[in-house]
């Protein structure tokens, strides 16, 4: 089991266990974490799963693909050059065992 912590703009926190293979987006959508919709089902074409990864968890994440790069340029909340990622591209087990992310203001 991996662990994902979502920090909301208002200060509240959701912390979830996620099976390997679950993405940051899927776990949020299934468990009802506010601010993450996942409208394209995880295909990196909607940006409704934008999150800011906390610095200490950036290591080990996969490189940003061409598709993710395009979507990160269209996010509702401003992009953070180091920390912005699409939650659907971050997979428990493959990329992290523990991760903490901030949900962008405008999505929350």
């Amino acid at each position: 089991m991996a662990n994902i912590t979502y920090h909301h703009a208002k200060g509240n926190v959701d912390s979830l266990d996620a099976e390997p293979g679950m993405t940051v987006m899927m776990a949020a959508v299934i468990h009802g974490v506010d601010g993450i919709i996942g409208e394209c089902g995880g295909q990196a074409i909607c940006a409704t799963c934008h999150v800011y990864v906390r610095d200490e968890y950036l290591d080990g994440l996969p490189a940003i693909s061409g598709a993710e790069e395009e979507m990160l340029e269209t996010t509702v909340s401003p992009r953070n050059p180091a920390r912005s990622r699409l939650g659907c591209q971050l997979t428990a087990g493959d990329h992290f065992n523990t991760i903490e992310v901030d949900i962008p203001d405008e999505q929350d």
Binding site: G41, G42, Q43, A44, G66, M71
Partner: protein
């Protein structure tokens, strides 16, 4: 009928992509009246696109992706009823009747009934082992069977048929696709792009038989054993997936006397021929400014953008305002991110740019705009590398862009088409022309 005395109650028929977004948008726009959402499927509302893609991958039972979390109905104060069907509408009394015997009064009724798979009428079509793919129940049945079969035949080389074919190939199954027309996905793609996908599926190991429709199925003990094509070829198989398109769910609307013509006919506000009834998503035939004609589209973009627009239109048209809700919100003002723009009475007709995606194995197809027969086409990039786009022009004007594994072209195309920024065929074909920078000259409206 007395509009003023009717309490606010928006009744939504269908809890798919369009119905759920509509409910979400109504609340976001400040509507505080009652909402009743009715869906005949028993599952919590879920996303359909993954069903023909990730959901079919080998492995343990996949988890469907919900459209919204389960608590959504509580947090958004929605009276959600699952597993019940609306069986009739009385437009004079403004009521909807459900198959559990309940009758609901509405001030506004929204039809978001989606579409149903077209079924084959050939001999043997009712044998076991012949599947369709529209619902989670369909996908669960397929996922369970794919572990035990060795070969599959797909009827119809449309998006769902080919996504399924690619998913089945990824599991190592023998896959044959029968398509009556002379090219795959011919209704939606340019001949160039169809040709590319025909070849690409060949490289994936799919046997694509063009110009061959289905004539009949053979069976043994009530289970399908082979598909026989219109050219007399016989394809032994363990499982058949039928993907020959859908028909809009217009039965309720038709029975209620609303205009129906390949979909429930709506105007630019997504309103039917009855001003208290709206229709949107897969079931609605709307005046499409991008096609220059009335169309019905089947996509997530169409369902969600129409839902946002309909929510604004419903709020803008209400005779009485919400007591106690914020200023301006209830008159239908939309957030800045919404391209349809406009407030209250000025709310323009629905005109959002259509876009679509389909993932077939390693191929990510994205389409911005609508492809029409006879468009001039220009290539950008290299099909041999499976990374390229086809730019479509009509009378020198850019109309649509199809991209394979080129998300930057797709996003640039959406910006260009939405802003109406001119592009020449020469610019599109020139690899040194910076399409992305050019498309960003205008404020992004996608």
């Amino acid at each position: 009928m007395n509009a003023i005395t009717t309490p606010d109650n928006v009744v939504v028929v269908g809890n798919g992509q369009a119905g759920i977004q509509l409910v979400d948008s109504l609340r976001k726009e400040g509507y505080t009246g009652a909402i009743t959402l009715i869906g005949e499927e028993t599952h919590h509302p879920y996303q359909r696109p993954p069903l023909s893609k990730d959901y079919l991958a080998a492995g343990k039972d996949p988890v469907p992706l919900p459209l919204r979390p389960e608590k959504f109905f509580t947090t958004h104060d929605v009276d959600a009823r699952l597993g019940v069907r609306v069986t009739s509408i009385d437009r004079t009394a403004r009521t909807a009747t459900l198959d559990d015997g309940t009758t609901l009064a509405y001030s506004t009724l929204v039809l978001a009934t989606g579409a149903a798979n077209r079924e084959l009428a050939v001999p043997g079509a009712d044998l076991a082992g012949i599947h369709g793919l529209r619902t989670l129940t369909d996908a669960q049945a397929l996922h369970a069977r794919l572990d035990t079969v060795r070969s599959v035949v797909v009827i119809g080389a449309g998006f769902i048929g080919l996504e399924f074919a690619a998913a089945a190939r990824a599991r190592g199954l023998d896959v044959t696709v029968l398509e009556y027309a002379d090219r795959p996905m011919g209704r939606a793609l340019t001949p160039v792009m169809s040709g590319f996908f025909a070849d690409a599926h060949g490289r994936l190991g799919v046997t694509l038989r063009l110009g061959e429709g289905i004539a009949s199925f053979d069976g043994d003990n009530g289970h399908v054993t082979a598909a026989v094509s219109t050219t007399g070829h016989r394809y032994p198989t363990d499982l058949v997936l039928v993907g020959v398109g859908v028909t809009p769910r217009t039965e309720l609307a038709a029975a209620a006397g609303l205009d129906v013509d390949n979909g429930i006919v709506v105007d630019g506000s997504l309103r039917t021929s009855d001003p208290n009834i709206y229709a949107l998503g897969d079931c609605a035939s709307f005046p499409n400014t991008h096609a220059g004609t009335r169309t019905r589209l089947e996509s997530v973009q169409n369902a969600t953008d129409q839902a946002r627009h309909a929510a604004a239109a419903i709020l803008a048209s209400r005779p009485g305002k919400e007591p106690g809700s914020g200023t301006g919100v209830e008159s239908g003002s939309m957030p800045g991110s919404e391209p349809a723009g406009g407030t209250g009475a000025e709310l323009g007709g629905y005109a959002d740019l259509p876009w679509f995606w389909s993932n077939q194995g390693p191929l990510r197809l994205q389409i911005a705009g609508l492809v029409a027969p006879g468009d001039q086409t220009v290539l950008r990039g290299n099909p041999a590398e499976e990374k390229f786009s086809v730019f479509c022009f009509r009378n020198g004007t850019l109309t649509a862009v199809e991209s394979v594994n080129q998300p930057a072209d797709h996003m640039a195309a959406r910006r260009l088409l939405a802003a109406g920024l001119p592009l020449t065929p020469e610019q599109a074909a020139d690899p040194d022309f910076d399409l992305k920078a050019y498309s960003k000259q205008q404020p992004a409206t996608v």
